[in-house]
Amino acid sequence: MQIARVVGTVVSTQKNAKLEGAKLLLVQPLDPGGAAKGPTVLAIDSVDAGIGDRVLLVQDGKAAIQALGRGVAAVDAAVVGVIDAVEMGA
């Protein structure tokens, strides 16, 4: 899992049938210091996250399919948690 920040939402009318009704979020993976790391990712949302939230992002087909919960579907990324706090160090 990665820490990411929700930076946007995406609206798509014409899409794969298994994705009907799924909420799509644009999320930006973050490095440990909180800076943007790599390209933004389009993920399905299973926890009702919103723009600005720090979230847990999975980028794996099996994990995303479980998060969507509709059987085998064409998804490879999902938001699976909203982060309250991260503490680093001992």
Partner: protein
Amino acid sequence: MFLARVVGTVVATHKDPGLVGMKLLVIQPIKNDGSASGKTLVAVDSVGAGVTENVFYVRGREASVPFLPDEVPTDAAIVGIVDHWST
């Protein structure tokens, strides 16, 4: 999934039987602001996308899922056409 813009089409007569009848599109991954990001790639289309449209695509093993039970050997598939996005 990732955002991309369709920038071209690919015609290939001689190809794996699993790809016969599939529409192959050249897509350019894009950033939040719509500008190009990284290299173009070829993806199989599952939603009827066309050149200049903004789409989102799946990478990896799940890219073959939209075509089940057909077994399509691809590592990238377009699974949605983007109406609009906001950041």
